[in-house]
Amino acid sequence: MLGLGADRLRADMNRLLAMLFHQGVLDEQFLQLQQLQDESSPNFVSEVVNIYFHESEKLLRNLRELLMDREFSDYKKMGTHLNQFMGSSSSIGAKRIRNVCVAFRAASEHNNRAGCLRALEVLEHEYCYLKNKLHELFQIEQQRVLAAGVRYPMQNN
């Protein structure tokens, strides 16, 4: 039964990925990352994505602190954070997040604080969504690897 489970899990994974692509959450760069994963580096994608999550959370925190400050005026610093976030998001293939960053940056260039706040909220929401979905993806992947590795005695002949 577990042999069939591995196939089912792979189908689940593909379905989830297809949905994320269709929604525009991920783009082809994510596929490129998957291509870089092989036996010599079997956890490459999850490692990179976890680094991305770690960095993104720091950046989002910084952005929120900047904007929550009543005497906020350092749009330039915000722009630096945004550029970093944008760069790492595009390296991962997080298309929607990157697009929100572009809008965010436009607002900050116009010194539009309200616009920035709104963009930050959308950004946080998108980030949460992506994180949940990718965690789900990695969980299915882990289960699939385990399921594919199980052998029954009869299958060994």
């Binding site: 490129q32 870089l36 990179v48 991305y52 960095e55 550029n83 760069g87 790492s88 390296s91 293939g93």
Partner: protein, 324 residues
């Protein structure tokens, strides 16, 4: 009995000298004469083989062989250059085992006539983002390169031996660096400033430098190319970009030693050989010629079959982002 002994000797001889005797002959005394004749024929070949061996051992071979392979694989119709053809032929022959290099006068047993065992290229990657560093590192490793990744221009200069503190004119890099790939936007020293410092250093200016950026700003691209950057890659970096970079490294290594190559490589200049990865984009020559004319290594990058992509890529990326 004597005849039998003779026969057995001939048989042994025939087995050893398969390279001389490629077809079966009836074993009788005539064969001695025939073998001597073929031996003298091959004496001439020996000289040619010696020259070929000389070429094989030289770094020139690496470039020519790669060129021959590229030319042969990608554009067989253009493979008319005699030396390239000869090299391709000998490599193919060696691979298929037709030519055995076992001769007593030349000890070639250990010589590997298979795919050229060149040393791995060593790339120095500079990027302040850890995510990007991981990705570029993996891209390069998968393309069989040694990678050193640093997080700032300062660290990069330290690694290359161009520290501000110790003003050493002789740049010591423990491991020779074949290519430097750097992000443009970095806190402290930008990629552009790093590029300038490298090109100003006599020890390091020969190393090709590639700039990466998430921004597709034409002015920035032009500025970097004018400063001497080899190429400008728009992020996110893909495997196809890294494959293109590998061409720079092998080509650069060969070009410094052979002026002949420069002349040959300039020939198929502006004709893209329509590799499948290229989108139909605007002609690259208009962008490429003004900014690329100063340095010969750059102009030679036009001609290898995969090279048009290097010039098309900023434009390809431009086109892609314009349609987004």
């Amino acid at each position: 009995m004597n005849e039998k002994k003779k026969e057995s000797r001939f048989l042994r001889f025939g087995r050893e000298r398969k390279d001389l005797v490629l077809r079966k002959r009836p074993i009788h005394s005539n064969t001695i004469l025939q073998r001597e004749e073929t031996h003298t024929q091959h004496a001439g070949d020996g000289n040619r083989q010696f020259y070929l061996i000389f070429i094989f051992f030289s770094p020139l071979y690496k470039t020519l062989a790669t060129k021959a392979e590229q030319a042969f694989v990608l554009q067989p119709s253009q493979n008319k250059e005699p030396i390239q053809f000869c090299l391709t032929l000998t490599r193919k022959m060696a691979r298929s085992g037709v030519v055995s290099w076992r001769r007593s006068s030349e000890r070639l047993d250990g010589f590997d006539m298979g795919p050229m065992n060149s040393e791995e290229a060593h790339v120095l990657a500079v990027d302040d983002s850890l995510v990007d560093r991981k990705v570029i590192e993996r891209l390069l490793r998968i393309s069989s390169c040694k990678v050193t990744a640093v997080d700032s221009g300062r660290r990069a200069l330290q690694f290359l031996g161009l520290d501000d503190d110790k003003s050493s004119s002789v740049g010591f890099d423990g491991l020779k660096v074949d290519l430097i790939i750097t992000d443009y936007c970095m806190p402290g020293m930008t990629g552009y400033e790093l590029l300038k410092k490298i090109k100003e250093s006599s020890a390091l200016k020969e190393i090709p430098v590639v700039i990466m950026s998430s921004e597709n700003v034409l002015a920035r691209i032009d500025r970097c190319l004018e400063e001497g950057a080899e190429d400008f890659i728009v992020k996110p970096v893909k495997l196809s970009d890294v494959k293109r970079l590998k061409d720079y490294m092998t080509r650069e290594a060969g070009l410094e030693e052979s002026g002949m190559n420069k002349r040959k490589l300039r020939e198929p200049c502006d004709v893209p050989s329509s590799p499948p990865s290229i989108l139909p984009s605007s002609p690259s020559s208009s962008l490429s010629s003004p900014s690329k004319s100063p340095s010969p290594p750059l102009s030679s990058s036009f001609s290898a079959p995969s090279s048009p992509t290097s010039l098309d890529s900023p434009i390809r990326r431009l086109k892609m982002t314009n349609t987004d």
